[in-house]
Structures are given as structure tokens and as C-alpha cells.
Subunit: 386 residues, 2 copies
Amino acid sequence: MQNFVFHNPTKILFGKGTIPAIGPETIAFGSKVLLVSGSGSLKRNGIYQQVSDSLLKAGAEIIEHPGVQSNPLLSHAREGIELARKQKCQVVCAVGGGSVIDEAKAICAGAVVNYDVWKFFTGKKSITAPLPLTTVLTLAASGSEMNSGMVITNDETRQKFGFANKKLYPKTSILDPEATFTVPADYTAYGAVDAIAHVLEFYFTTQDPATPVQDRFMEGLVINAMESCNRVLADLNDYQGRADLMWTATLALNGLTAAGLGKVGFPMHLIEHSLSALYDVHHGAGLSAIIPGWMRHQCQSTPQRFTQFAGRVFDCRSGSSEERARKGIDALEEWFRKIDSPISLAALNISREAIPQIAENAMALAKVWRMPDYDGERIQAILAGC
Amino acid sequence: MQNFVFHNPTKILFGKGTIPAIGPETIAFGSKVLLVSGSGSLKRNGIYQQVSDSLLKAGAEIIEHPGVQSNPLLSHAREGIELARKQKCQVVCAVGGGSVIDEAKAICAGAVVNYDVWKFFTGKKSITAPLPLTTVLTLAASGSEMNSGMVITNDETRQKFGFANKKLYPKTSILDPEATFTVPADYTAYGAVDAIAHVLEFYFTTQDPATPVQDRFMEGLVINAMESCNRVLADLNDYQGRADLMWTATLALNGLTAAGLGKVGFPMHLIEHSLSALYDVHHGAGLSAIIPGWMRHQCQSTPQRFTQFAGRVFDCRSGSSEERARKGIDALEEWFRKIDSPISLAALNISREAIPQIAENAMALAKVWRMPDYDGERIQAILAGC
């Protein structure tokens, strides 16, 4: 195990009927609240109303910033920053999925400085004292509700960049599984794939595979993501399935899986960010298309991790260690197929000709993320197998 | 899954060479530091000196409060409280195992009020604004370094009571596995048993067994505690084993295992507290003597949990579900035997005649902990099977 610092100060309120707590939790940081949200669907299912009622009841003055789209755009975040500055908001409340929370984090960071927020993403500036953030989660996927990361797409340069800073942990996040009942089957599946990808990135890229405590935690999360997703796809209103999937996705990227693993990479996200920056692809669907190909590529370098994964997650016990490793990847791919999640670029209607451009886009992020081992040739080779 | 609040704000610095960070981490809360420690062993192995040097270098004024014993005594905590009050200490730094940290928490809570600290343990007073606490851990066992609980023995009444409050989380805890290299084999084993007991208490007493996310996390922790303990017993200086055991013990009682389980009990600790309040018994050894007997008793009420445990932790796959449940308990007992940890009251030199007195002592705590289902008859029946 490598040395690490673990410090996750986010307070989680989990369960049925917890949304009305958002008012008191938020105004503890100030009464002037920027309320960040996505499309109209929240308004239709009543969640936005619940949040808004709770904030008003607690004495908040609400400044609305709706319209965040998935793969949130820098231009829209900049509008939110302007609004927060102009209205002198003291706290930001995000109601939505990872995209809404990520954009809200960018607003928290950008509203208190006199330069452009994109400088954080390109590593030119450091975050100092962002506005405090509270969240009400409506999608089990990104983990942003209990971590310090954010991903934004620069709509001018078509770069989708991610960035993390310990000052960006939400103060409080409310996770009511019932708030995800209206998420349709495809988005539910993509969310589960996203959570699984978060686990696998670290599991397979650790430089120190002597981490049995973290390994068992991660293997359990992958099994839980699959089992709970299966339950939900059988019945979209299955509370237990929704709850297990929600908590699994949160734990999959809250820092605990990575603690002690040393330097880990985020290669599947690196490549996927370019897919969804260049094409209209859902993040989880993009990951799903890349994961099996990336795993087969990575398995050549660290086969023993894949054998362990296959044994513990898919109970692959027979055959040589290479065969078992392969069977584990096949089993995960087969599960993606079963939940109707894409397993190739073709399934996303992305042609082979696009590969060089995707690779070039990804290389820009590889530079920012300091992943020199992911050069154009390697990225193209991985994409060729997807 | 039941509704829950999870909020663990403790910052963990984990790994080799992390002890010198204690100075800056501590004086962030004030320069006048009450340094709480145990016996002379820390002074002999140099850890106390490292802590003290780091505090002085950071500009702290150190007030020493040494001599905490295992199963820490109320009378000694009261002395620490007097000292902290008189010297106007601003922060407490604990260097030691769970006993030292627990007593330090009692001092933090008691130093700022004008009544006796025992009132917190008997539920007569609530904790408001305790002194901040930092810790340097030297024993993998209690989890106190990342939780809000404390256990103190009242040396007048011979009551060993535990109490938790969210304001008692340490601010920062430093976990250097090398600081545990000098822990002898028997104490290492008892520490592993203590960590396992923390997991099993919740795992087997949850009122809501539909918690697959938590279950897999807990099952992994039990396996990790056993595997890492085996490594350490084979070589007391095995860094990986020490690190895995230390992080496992911390995660075993930091709130994450219980989050979502609803009302859980602490019955094995309830009974053990009476054992070590009345006899000179190490906490982990006392638990070890009780666990197999309690499990056989509990298995009658929730056999399916025991079957799951046996399957996932000990790979028991053949036989009826009752047989598998039994095999799982036998396997854990066998492992206790292998690591030379007691598996009966007799092994602790406690006679059967003592059972009524132990049960009576435990009933007082059952009342405080609101566990009405643990009456004298039931506790005696459990002890009769130990």
C-alpha cells in the first residue's frame, strides 16, 4: 500500500424523504442561493419544486440558473458565474446528476475569482476559496456528489477537461433513491457503467497491486453495480435496487477506492472525454464502448489483475490464468450487451475514420493530466480494438 | 437499505514517515497542546520522541498527560481534564492505541464543561464543543482514530461504558504502519479480532439484511483482517501486513459499515465490556472468547446471514444452508485458535460461577445502550455457551 491522504468531509443524507432537508443544509452557508439545474424533466417530476420549496421555507433567496446540459458547457458555466457574481450569491445548490453538479462546482470556483474559470482546467490557476456547494442528486453515476472533481466541455475548443481540488467537495449531498425512479432504462444502465468504469480505472492502473483492502472493496462495488442495475432494469421503481445503485456509484469515486493505490490513471475517461466532446454521446455509453477494448489492451500489461478480477467478480475458476483473465473481460462485455449498453464505436455510429481525430483530441488532455504513456499511437491502437 | 446520515470529517494521513506531520496538523488548532499517552513503551521505541519533536518544532507548548492504561480509567481521564483546564490547553494530541485515544476524547469533552465527564457516558449530558483532537495511532484495533466513540471504565463502579458523539471525530489521525512494528504477536492478534468483532456486530444484528453494498464491504474487511494478521504473525515487521491490518481496522468502525443498516446492536461489546471491567482481560481477547458462542446463539435467529457469511468469507459451498452457517462459525473459531486467541471463558481463567455477576454488570450497560432484548437470562445463556 502506498502512502495517502484521505479526507472526505462531505455530509451525506441518504434515503426516502430526505430532500426537504436541503433548505436548512444550504442556508447554513448563506441565504442567497444560486440554484443550478438541468433540463425541464426535474420540474415535471416535482423534485425541483421540492428543493425550491425547502429553500424558500428555510428563508433562502433563490437565483435560478437552469439549463445545464449533459457534458456541461463552459459557456453555460460562465453565464452561471456571471449571475452568481452579479447577484452576490453566497452558496450554490445543485439539483441534478453529475453534469449539473460538475457545472455547479465550476461556478463555485469561478465566481470568487477575477479571471476565467477555464484556467483551473488547464492547470494555469489554483482554486483557493470557492463558494460552498450543496447538492440533491437525481442520477446514480458520476460520484460528483461526494468528490472533489468536475468535468466541463469547452465549446470553443471542443475539449472536455476534468479537474479536482480538495476545496470542491460538496458540503452536503442529499441522496434520495426515489429521485431516480424516473431515470429511464438506458440512462440507468449508462450510470451503472460509469460507476463501474470509475472502479476499473484505478483497479487496473494501480502501480502497486498489493492492495487487498482496496481490491475487495472495489470488486464488491462492481458486483453491486451490476446486481442493483439488474434489479432496476427489471423494475424501474425497485427501491432497493435504486438505493444500492446510488450508494454504489457514490462510493465508486469518493476517494476511498484510490486511497493507497499510489499513482493511478484515468485512461478510459481520457479517451471517452474526446468521444463525447466530438460526438453527441452519453458519457456512460461512450465508456461502455471503450471499456472492453481497453481492458483487452491493458490485460497484456497486468494480466494477474485481470485474473483476480475474473475470479472474484465473475467466479471464473477454471482454465489457465490467461483464460480466466479473458473470461472475466468477456463476462463484463456480455453484461453490457445484456443491459443494452454499447460495446463498440460502431454501436455509437462512430466510424473507424474518426479514430485519428479522437486520438488527437485525447492527447491534449493526456498532456494536462500528465499521462505521457498515452500517446497518439497507443490511443489509436486502443480505439482500433473498440 | 435504511435511511442514514454519513459524515466522517477526520483527515487521515497514512503511511511510512507520516508522524512528523503531527506538529503542523495539531497546532492548526492552537499551540497549547495536551499530549496524552500510555505506558513507557512508546518512549522506548522512539515514537513519543518523534511526536514530541514535531510538536515542538511546530511551535507547540506541550503539557504531558502520560500513563493511560488499557481499558482506560475514569479517574485518570479526570486527572487529564483537570490538567487541561488548569493549563488552558487548546487542543489534545493522543499518541497510542484505542485506549489512549478514547481517554483523550473524554478529556476533550470534559475539559470544556463544569460538570463531571461521566455524565456523558450515563446519558445525563450532551457533548457541545469539545477541544479538537489529533492522534498518532500505534495499534490496529479499535477504529477510534476515525470515529466518534469512546469507552471508559469507571473505577469506582466497575462499569465500562461507551459513548459516541459526532463532535468527537478526531480532526487528523496519523496512521504509520511502522509505528505498530513493535506490537507483539498476542496484541496484534487481539487487535485483528477487535476489528473483526466491529464488523460482525453490525453484520449480524442489522434489522435490514437487504444491504448488499455494505455486506460485501464488511465481508472483505473480515477476510482482510485475517489475511493481514496472518502475514504479520509470520513476520512482525511485514510492512504490507501491518498496513493492511491498520487500514482494515480503521475502516471496520468508521461509520461506513453501519450506514444504511438501520438499528444495529453491539452485543458482543456489551458483554465483553463487563468481562474487562471485572477482570484483567485485554479487550480483544475478551471479544475472542465471546464471539464463537455469541455467533452460535445469534445464528438461531438469523441463520441466512450466517450462511451468506460462511459462503463469502470462508468459501463454504457444500451442505445444507444450516450446515454451511455452522461451518462458517467453526472456521472463524478455528482461525482464532490458530492465532492463539482465546475461544472460551475458561481460556481467560474465568469460571462458570462468575457468569451471573458478569451478566448483571452487562445489564447496566444494556440499559444505557437501549438494548432491552439483552436481559440477564439471555446474557447468561450466551455466556454459558462461551
